[in-house]
């Protein structure tokens, strides 16, 4: 196989492996909408980065982190937080798109930002994605208990004096970083799929949150090579193919869990 495929496979697999455990919290807390809004703002960040001449990835990461933190503060307002986050996120997506389109001096690949451009990963890109993915994985493991308290019993944790605000901030920064650096791999429109589909596939086979996180990491990392091989064989776009592979794993998991229940229940 060619080098670009190895780079794509490694980058996507590492990113998906980090997205699995973190995505479990997104799933448990039903915060997929927040990830999507952060990804949309990430597109605006990339546009702004290109506009002012800094690295697009840097712009993406900065704006994604800022957006996540600002959105998290939207809770006590008169507009329901979900609505506000939806509004802001889509404005970010629209504005980012308009900015990209009007920049005549910069040749930007719009489809690449929306659906990823994993086959174009450079060695430096892979290195950065690997570093961010391992960093996110390590942080998720270190912050496991505070994050899980926040997911399982946020009100109890806050009432009993645990620093839930700090855990929340850390969680949002991790999601924003993963989303920002995942933009290159599967794009702004699909990155949240890597956060929620592998955990959903892992759920039926997990009896503990730890097992679910580990399984989600493995299933996510498996989706990357499967998707790439399928994309290569069918000459299909790679990012969406990886997401479809994750979807196939989820379908397989759901069906086998159902069959297993029937088999075990009938026996």
């Amino acid at each position: 196989m060619d080098d670009f495929l190895w780079r794509a496979g490694l980058g996507a697999a590492l990113l998906a492996a980090a997205a699995g455990p973190l995505g479990c919290f997104v799933l448990w807390r039903r915060m997929a909408y927040l990830g999507e809004s952060v990804a949309h703002m990430g597109l605006l960040g990339a546009s702004l980065g290109l506009l002012i001449g800094v690295d697009a990835l840097l712009g993406t990461a900065c704006l994604a982190v800022v957006a996540a933190l600002v959105m998290a503060r939207a809770k006590d307002r008169s507009i329901p937080a979900g609505n506000l986050i939806g509004i802001v996120g889509h404005m970010g997506l629209a504005l980012g798109f308009v900015l990209l389109a009007t920049m005549e001096t910069v040749r930007a690949d719009l489809l690449g930002y929306l659906f990823g451009d994993v086959l174009a990963l450079s060695e430096a890109n892979v290195f950065v994605i690997a570093a961010v993915s391992l960093g996110v994985l390590a942080a998720t493991a270190l912050l496991w208990r505070p994050l899980l308290r926040l997911a399982a019993a946020p009100e109890i944790a806050a009432a009993e004096g645990y620093n839930t605000a700090l855990a929340e901030t850390a969680f949002l920064v991790l999601v924003a970083l993963l989303v920002a650096f995942g933009l290159k791999v599967v794009g702004a429109l699909l990155i949240v799929a890597l956060l929620i589909v592998p955990p959903a596939a892992a759920r039926p086979f997990a009896r503990s949150p730890e097992a679910m996180a580990v399984l989600a990491a493995i299933l996510g990392a498996l989706a990357a090579p499967f998707g790439l091989v399928a994309a290569y064989a069918a000459d299909a776009p790679a990012g969406p193919a990886i997401v479809l592979a994750a979807g196939a794993i989820f379908a397989l998991s759901a069906v086998s869990a159902r069959l297993w229940r029937q088999f075990a229940g009938g026996a």
Partner: protein, 245 residues
């Protein structure tokens, strides 16, 4: 009496022009069970949340320095997407030996390896209580901890709360609907209807013949609570009418 574990002075909360709490003062001391009673919408849960710092309020709340709280909320949402055993849940807040001891103490040791999602309402109520006591708090705050518990279970659970208070020496602040059990167990009863209507020693309150008589009639039960302080009454809106009854 000794220094209060937690004390509120002049707490008021309004939301959208509606007064939810009006100048409420309350204190809980160590080894004391204080029970909040009052009709729906009287602000019981809001008062607890304000005391716990979950809701902003005007007024002053003081806590004994380093106060450790164990909280059982009125509603605990279990998420089917989160695989978590009762023991795994407790371990998020306490060590494993403490978690297992707490489950055993409230007589649900058999749930330790079972999924929270698979527990019955009564088992969940006990697991939540076990979680609250596992880290040995100074103050237990229980917001209707009996949701999903049947009548016999309810009395047993109240008895258990009193025993735990004796063993751990903690204070207990409790919201309840079941007046019979409250009268049998509580040290001190606070009747709340946006403001503190009356406050009394449960033992003396329960001896009041008028109070007892009224308790028999379910429909009159709530009225009965306010009958032993004849300084004001309530319109159906909850608005206070001052006068002699």
């Amino acid at each position: 009496m000794s220094e209060a574990l937690i004390a509120a002075r002049g707490l008021s909360i309004s939301a959208g022009g509606t007064v939810i709490l009006d100048d409420v003062s309350l204190a809980v001391h160590a080894r004391e069970i204080v029970t909040l009673i009052g009709p729906n919408g009287s602000g019981k849960t809001t008062l607890l949340k304000a005391l716990l710092g979950l809701q902003r309020a005007q007024g002053r709340i003081t806590r004994r320095p380093g106060l450790k709280i164990g909280y059982v909320p009125q509603v605990f949402a279990r998420d089917p997407s989160l695989p978590l055993t009762a023991s795994g849940f407790l371990v998020l807040f306490a060590g494993l030996p403490e978690a297992e001891a707490a489950l055993k103490r409230v007589e649900v040791a058999h749930t330790a390896r079972r999924q929270l999602n698979a527990l019955s309402g009564g088992e969940l109520a006990r697991v939540l209580l076990a979680r609250a006591i596992a880290a040995r708090p100074d103050l237990l705050v229980l917001d209707e901890p009996l949701a999903g518990v049947d009548v016999t279970g309810e009395a047993a659970l109240y008895h258990l709360i009193a025993e735990i208070r004796d063993e751990m020496g903690c204070g207990v602040l409790l919201v309840s609907h079941d007046l019979h059990v409250v009268m049998a167990q509580a040290n001190r009863v606070v009747c709340l209807n946006r403001h503190v209507c009356c406050e009394g020693d449960a033992a003396s309150v329960v001896k009041d013949p008028a109070f007892r008589a009224l308790f028999g009639a379910r429909a009159a039960a709530e009225l009965a609570l306010y009958a032993h302080h004849h300084d004001h009454a309530h319109k159906p809106s909850g608005e206070t009418v001052h006068g002699d009854g």
